[in-house]
């Protein structure tokens, strides 16, 4: 296995709709790709319902375990939006109504604003707000916890806005091969290559194309030379078993593409 990462992230996706199957999450993959490029490894993701105890407990576990924590969902104006209150409880602080955000809401919504609308001006004491270009309602940061919207377009805008605040590590380098072969055929050699290249993680992802077994092999590490060496071994192995190559790194190894 590759060396442990210095910079880690835990992602908490909040919302009953994700656990009922009504909505498929799009936010984890978006964040994970971007964080990988910055040398921050997503170590775990949890999907939790709109239940205060579940959210508070998960936030408190994650903020101890990981460099950064990102939550999505539950910061809107309805009764099921309980994330802000839960973050305040997790940190043992009160809620305050931010005067500047309230003024922005007044200017933007005018008479359309209700008491529910203004709930989105409430934050835990100590929060730093995260502006976004997709809506007037900010996300916020409490210490190492970033609290973002659940709607992908709004989440993405907040996420891009907070990126300059993150410490960066060595970006994860990646090289991947796709070939017509089966995991059974290459499994033993691939394990040997993994053992010979302990600085990289090699993942094997089988699928079928044109009725034939195919595999994508992904080599990842923050060490570019290690990725290069392992990629050479994989290329030779695929050649040795006469696998028809569908896709190979060019030039390899390349940085992770988004």
């Amino acid at each position: 296995m590759a060396e442990p990462h210095k910079l880690t992230a835990g992602v908490i996706l909040i919302g009953n709709e994700l656990l009922s199957g009504r909505v498929e999450d799009k936010n984890l993959a978006y964040m994970a790709k971007s964080l990988s490029q910055r040398g921050i490894k997503v170590a775990e993701c949890r999907i939790v319902p709109d239940i205060a105890d579940d959210i508070i407990q998960t936030v408190n576990q994650f903020r101890q375990r990981f460099t950064y924590v990102f939550t999505t969902g539950g910061i809107g104006p309805t009764h099921d939006d309980i994330t802000t209150r839960c973050i305040a409880k997790a940190f043992g602080v009160e809620i305050f109504r931010d005067a500047q955000t309230t003024q922005i809401f007044k200017d933007y919504f005018g008479d359309r604003a209700t008491e529910a609308t203004y709930r989105m001006c409430d934050f835990p004491v100590g929060a730093e707000l995260i502006e976004n270009s997709a809506s007037v309602a900010p996300g916020f940061r409490m210490e190492n916890v970033f609290v973002l919207a659940g709607i992908p377009s709004v989440m993405q805008s907040m996420f891009e806005a907070l990126l300059p605040q993150l410490e960066e590590g060595d970006p994860i380098q990646e090289a991947s091969f796709t070939a017509f072969t089966s995991e059974g055929k290459i499994g033993i050699q691939l394990e040997h290559i993994q053992n010979q290249n302990p600085k990289v993680d090699i993942g094997s992802y089988p699928f079928r194309q044109d009725g034939k077994p195919a595999v994508t092999l992904v080599i990842r590490s923050a060490d570019q030379h290690a990725v290069h060496a392992a990629a050479q071994d994989v290329a030779e192995m695929l050649k040795a078993v006469n696998a028809e190559i569908l896709d190979a790194p060019d030039p390899w190894p390349q940085e992770v593409a988004s």
Copy 2:
């Protein structure tokens, strides 16, 4: 909030590819919809990397907490497929090679089978195998833990095969409305309706259509009468604010549609 469910499920999605953003999971939503229809509530989902300690710890927590546990991923023939070994460790049992599965593999793969291929004939002692129609490699059950493939077509085939083994509760009933309005406008009334209808969970999911704010309101409960009563309240509330209705239950309340 609705009453706690008797029958619960925890889902564990295993694989570095989900945490790097390379692959977006399709399995949680598939399982969750089907389980909801059977009155089994998915209470939490965790996405963990191919790291043995993470998998073992999560499985042992979940099998104590939930009626059923479902894992996906990591049961193939390559070095990164460590789920079977982790389940054995979580239950404190050894691995055995199943003679019948081995014979099926010999007949099916013939000379193409390697030692790696036969790894998929290994199971924890005590496992009950779960056949599937998409591949010759079975999943398996250990007590209340169901261990399934990560490839959606294979996972789905295994999942359908195991369904008769699950105890069924009262199916979750659902009624949903979609209307042009904003969460800010209806937030206070909606909270009132939720408080007046404690047996249901009401979710509010905002989006934009044709440049205008829109909301989907979802009412869920195992109690059909409670769903009906809350749906009536929601319909009256939407009428009172002159919201243009885009979609409403007909006939309502309806059972959860897949």
